[in-house]
């Protein structure tokens, strides 16, 4: 046998052994943490909810579906809602998750309340859910979404973002971190994201208690401590700066932001679900302003902007916040009550 064929035989042995062990490892249960955790629950209870709240950790920590439902029931609209907020959910992921939710074809869903983050950059990084989301179908969809939305942007940025999806797909195919995923499940991230009432909402106070058992609360504790230390700076410098920024003229709506919003609304329209945009308070940091710009251009008909310290000072009050980005339990209560008041006209109980 010459060297070439010998090499080919070795490669064959290599591949056979790889595939064999790969198949064995698949026995380890895949993680259902993050999007998976909430999505799986939603899949099982797809006909249970009329309203879904979608967005990043601001939504996860700021909207209490149980309280929202109670308020609606008091106004004669008995409904059930679910909080689909996921920490660090970026714009792209919001669109992807919205499509997945609508794809469930729930007979009961009437309203999706979205608080979108910046469309780009692609923010998932190498997270657990990033890997588990990147099946072949999802990856192709995400890449085509990326290409379509990022037209006109810098070529290198577009290329890098696309490669990150390919990288995440390869992570998925090679079952990268499968054992870590199983450990994550053992660490109860599933429970944390579903919350104590299994409605997708968890106050940070509750999470800190839960995560402390696993030694994972350090980051949340640190954020609160930093926030307290920066009290003076925040009130005297950061907040006036946010106010100043909010009074500046709105930046023009970028083409990719326009396309993004249209995609969101088109997806909802096709499914006969109403979409309402909200902008929860970013508190002390200037967030994306494309929603306001889109409202000016009448692209977004329903927008509730709570990111305004003059109109809603209570949302920015120190005692209602855990850190710069998130409400504490008291703040979440206030926010939910406000949402219940404003969204009441849009909520329709299922027949």
């Amino acid at each position: 046998m010459n060297r070439f064929w010998l090499g080919a035989v070795h490669c064959l042995w290599f591949v056979i052994a790889w595939l064999g062990v790969h198949a064995l490892i698949e026995i380890v249960p895949e993680s259902t943490a993050h999007v998976g955790a909430k999505f799986e629950y939603l899949e099982k209870h797809k006909n249970d909810f009329e309203v879904i709240f979608l967005g990043s950790s601001r939504v996860f920590r700021g909207v209490d579906p149980a309280l929202f439902d109670l308020r609606m029931a008091e106004t004669g609209k008995p409904i059930s809602s679910f909080n689909m907020g996921i920490p660090q959910m970026g714009g792209m992921e919001t669109l992807h998750v919205l499509r997945r939710i609508l794809g469930l074809e729930s007979g009961r869903l009437r309203l999706v309340v979205v608080d979108p983050e910046y469309v780009f950059p692609y923010r998932w990084g190498s997270t657990l859910r990033d890997t588990s989301v990147h099946t072949l179908d999802n990856t192709l969809e995400l890449i085509s979404m990326q290409i379509a939305l990022s037209k006109g942007m810098k070529f290198t940025d577009r290329l890098t973002s696309t490669f990150r999806h390919v990288n995440a797909y390869l992570d998925n195919v090679t079952q990268r971190g499968r054992i870590s995923q199983a450990i994550k499940v053992a660490k109860n991230s599933y429970v944390e994201l579903l919350g104590p009432a299994s409605n997708g909402f968890a106050t940070i106070e509750w999470s800190v208690k839960l995560l402390s058992r696993y030694g994972d609360a350090g980051n949340l504790v640190k954020r609160q401590r930093k926030f307290r230390l920066q009290h003076r700076f925040i009130e005297n410098i950061a907040l006036p700066r946010v106010l100043m920024v909010s009074k500046q003229p709105l930046p023009p709506l970028m083409p990719h932001e326009k396309r993004y919003l249209k995609e969101l609304m088109e997806a909802a329209r096709k499914s006969g679900v109403q979409l309402v945009f909200v902008k929860l308070p970013r508190a002390y940091q200037a967030g994306p302003r494309f929603l306001e710009a889109a409202q000016l251009e009448e692209l977004v008909p329903n927008l509730f902007n709570y990111d305004d310290p003059e109109r809603f000072p209570e949302f920015f009050a120190f005692e209602n916040r855990w850190d710069r980005s998130h409400f504490n339990a008291a703040g979440a209560r206030l926010m939910t009550l406000q949402l219940a008041t404003d969204l009441a006209p849009y909520v329709r109980p299922a027949p």
Binding site: V21, L170, R213, G215, G218, N219
Partner: protein
Amino acid sequence: MIFTEHRFLFFFLVVFLIHWALPGQRTRKLWLLGASYAFYASWDFRFLSLILTSTIVDYLVGIGLARTQLPGRRKILLLVSIFVNLSILGVFKYFDFFVESASELLKFMGLTTEVPRLNLILPVGLSFYTFQTLSYSIDVYRRKLKPTYNFIDLSLFVAFFPQLVAGPIVRAIHFLPQLRSARRWTRVDVRACLVIFMVGFVQKAVLADHAAPIVDAYFAAPDSYSMVSGWVANFMFLLQVYCDFAGYSNMAIGAAGLLGYQLPVNFLFPYLAGNPASAWQRWHISLSSWISDYVYKPLRRPGQSRMANYRNLMLTFTLFGLWHGASFNFILWGATWGLATVGYMQWSRFRRLHTHWGPLPSWLAVTLFMAWIALSITFFRAPDFGTAWTVIKTLLFLTPAGDLPLEGFGGLLGVGGLSLSLLLLFLIHAANQRGIFRWWVRVPSQVFAAGYGAAVPMVFACTAINVEPFIYFQF
């Protein structure tokens, strides 16, 4: 592009296949140079200009040194190289630190001034390739090395991608001769290279990346955790930093070997050294030997006193700390190593004079030494001096600690997390000591191929889900 990411593995596969498919050494070198620049540009293409500047200056200095024998002119040429290379390093890495320190000092003296800050991003691997280019100029100046007239060779020596961003720091005297002779595939020890690459991958992606979140959680709020948690976190960081850097070095050695080039060994299980003097002959060997050859030895004078030697050691170690990062933490960390080395030398001298004091049992020496490095590494890991001091106080019972337990890997698994990691590390060490890796590369080739194929998915499954950047990239 991090070595443990799929995109690097894909990139390397393409570079490897095309490299060996190309005819002739010159075309291969050109290909490798292009690939190295592309690899570096994947971080930030603007910083390629810095590598090119260093390369061009040292190329011209080398040729200048070859063409003149006048000592004064040679010295000027050397100073040009040192000035340019250290200026780049100084501006990008140290300028803001020195300016801020000066400002703090003035404030302490009651003078307040507005100081200009550059706020520059630190180019990845800057310290590594600066030291490489400096070693070239100094060796040519010392006539230990003939300068190269081949610009491609020098450029590839500076930018060779497997070791470009985090070492090992290769000396021109070792690498340039390899570039001059043709590389042959038949001379590549493929199995040894694949094994060392996988060992590095396991160290980085399995051990270091799993330790990272636990260490991060602790250092984010050290006063919330218990004292035991503090010690666990510090030991975890010892594990992380060693596996991170040794892992990178091993992957670099494996990858370079597959392309036909040998890089020097950079780690020899330093934690088992048992004393600080020996540890630096086993940790980041390429840097410690660089510092020894180009900083410590030139400071030495014939017949100098013991105290002068200790002073030189302290200075060398402080510079060593500063090389790691522009902050007082690193300076202090380097100084603690200097003190420990001086202390150890004094202790050795004392033992020589008082022969009834025998050496410590090796297990005790290793344990004490590890406890000491676990304590001192706090300065390396903590984000600022205040945090470092909080950690040290907690570890030494000087302050009441918090009550949060630090358990990585969750529940019962967490208790065993550190032990499991240390066990795996020990197994790697034992396998190396007992020649298991050498045995493994000699098994029949089909068995090796199948074994490697089976190991790959297992390693992928055991990796941490987050791909952490290499710690030493920042240096």
